[in-house]
Symmetry: C2
Subunit: 439 residues, 2 copies
Amino acid sequence: MMEQTGVEQTGVEQAGARRGAEQHDQDFLADWAMHSRFGAVEGANGVDRQAASEADGQQRKWFARLLDSHGFTVERDAIGNQFGLLELVPGAPYVVTGSHMDSQPTAGRFDGAYGVMASAHACFRVAEELRADPSKARRNLAVVNWFNEEGSRFKPSMMGSSVFTGKLPLTDALATRDPHGVSVKEALDAIEERGGLEGLDVASYAEIHVQQGRSMEEDGVTIGLVNATWAAHKFEFRVTGEQAHSGSTLMADRRDALLGAARLVIAARELVDRFEPGLLHTACGELNVYPNSPVVVASEVGLLIDLRSPSAEVIRAAHASLMETVERVRFEDRVEIEVVAEHSWDQNPYPEAGVELAREVAEELGLAHDRVMTVAGHDSTNMKDTVPTVMLFVPSVDGISHNLKEFTRDEDLIAGVNHLTGVVRRLAAGALSGAPGSD
Amino acid sequence: MMEQTGVEQTGVEQAGARRGAEQHDQDFLADWAMHSRFGAVEGANGVDRQAASEADGQQRKWFARLLDSHGFTVERDAIGNQFGLLELVPGAPYVVTGSHMDSQPTAGRFDGAYGVMASAHACFRVAEELRADPSKARRNLAVVNWFNEEGSRFKPSMMGSSVFTGKLPLTDALATRDPHGVSVKEALDAIEERGGLEGLDVASYAEIHVQQGRSMEEDGVTIGLVNATWAAHKFEFRVTGEQAHSGSTLMADRRDALLGAARLVIAARELVDRFEPGLLHTACGELNVYPNSPVVVASEVGLLIDLRSPSAEVIRAAHASLMETVERVRFEDRVEIEVVAEHSWDQNPYPEAGVELAREVAEELGLAHDRVMTVAGHDSTNMKDTVPTVMLFVPSVDGISHNLKEFTRDEDLIAGVNHLTGVVRRLAAGALSGAPGSD
């Protein structure tokens, strides 16, 4: 009888847990559907929600109400990072988890936004558990919506997490202007998202994001354990020629800045073919012409070129080759080419302890997992240099990213929330940050 | 004695005429110096005076006062062409002479503006002569400052003369918007330059302009007798790719509109080398990228490419070759390329009678002259299809054009005004338009 009863009870408990889990999944999908309406692009499934835009402001207000309805206290810091705070252990440091809700112009609805919503729901679930059994809590919980990760409106990208981690001075960030001359400070004030929170005692950080590549989908991986960032070298070039009548000026007399810039765009693309497939990604996504008139040879073009690779050696070789092209174009097209700004980083590992913790959770949940590198930067790239960090990926269908057609299947979204919940549960119990009894 | 006296009188008359001519030259240079102040770029000798800008408006008000002070009546038509009218023969048609005062952004002070000021002074001198001897007048006089010849702010270029000659509908022109969304109508109203003049009975047209090339300077020619416009083919291309993350998206998956556009920019330049030097000019001066973000592969680029040649055959060969490149880029870079708009013209002659009249005046004044073709378009390109037309050039130092450093020497400016005065004198007496006794 006892065993029978025990079995029956277990059956009841399992069924109850299953119903509870299903309800959690439904709750997530419902909030997710609502969330994707802010800045939705008509006739498409994507969004246009650049940092501190009206749509960003509306979404932040909605998100604040959601956090509040789950008992989280909403605060903003001076650069507009939005936090939902839950104090479970007075005075203890916080497990922070989140991503960013801002988007590129006409982009997908998953990039960043999925990470914030998954984090919110992971925290809601863990909070529910810890309220039921407060003795297990070692950390407090914080959901974060980082300001301006995308950097399309205000440069640089990852602005909010850079200020938070002390890598970018607050005053510089607030003074940055968009192409229309509006400063970050003005834009944040317009949506009332500059706040007074001054720092936060952070125990650990977790972030989940869509992959923005297609290797996980191809390999049948549901949870990516992000173990490193690709190496990268980013350049801002200024090509200077001389204004001239684009019809009457003799070709030999011209010093055409746009011609010089076009040669750099093509050189960057052709560099890729010198290496094994997948070893080098290059891009020029932004290029601005002055005076940009149909009958004037351009006197100045600004353009941004990126080199990215899993190998720092490839980056160095590509960099050297690009600079040879710069010299050749300078000479042959008689234009000046300056590197106005550049920054680079070597292949950059995520802490192994975080990767291992994420692996254990995936094993426990029976989710297909593998170690993957990230090509794109994330706010966790800043956080991992400061605190113990876990970075996770879910698959992107066809790897489509920064595009209205970006897509991740519901089952993967749900698997990601469940996995992140497992990670946050362990972090809240003190994992990675060495709380007593955390292992 | 009679002969002696005769000689003495002639000497006195010559000295008087010389003093009168010197005074005329000084008057011109004084007004010219004043004129170049409107829209002057600080620290440079050039101007920024785009169509219907504040500087354009201020200059038009100053110019109206100048015309008025010489007894000319100032009127504007519905597209903002500014006329100074002097009725000498009631009901007779008008000799119209002028050019444009608008400029490219950061351009020289001579382009167009010299033609308007030379025209005004030529008319002031001829008016003085005809007021002294009204029996010689067969025509009335009109100075014109055409609206928006440059087309840098509002497209197309030569807007005012195109509407005046019926080649462009007025309503289309007024509805055209600049990159900030301001319409021509709004911009003209803001400077109060939209008027009520409805058409003008035009007998003939004369225009003088700086060459914007260096052949006249090299050949020691002071007055260019413009006998034809180069052939041209102008394209507006739209290259369409697909937005993607510029870091993480596999190179093989990308459809990069900016890469495709850069290939067209370079193909246009390389076309030139397939022909004898000077036989083909090509250019791309305007290129716009969407979404123009550092981390997004561009999905759309618009660009304008021009082919110009004295030979229609060269244009056809260059056009065919450019289209082969378009096909190749479509295929190799997997982008769509559309020709959104194009227009072309064959080598386009100026009327021979006008060239001959200008030659006679140059002979009379002892000015070095030669026939030259124009590569650039001018308002006279529109007028010559409608009325007998004379088109003149003075040299440009080093052919520098659409550049703050554009320069023409005072002696050439003065020679041009003197020559144009001779042309206007003959046109006012009925030349080219078949008035009785005009030859």
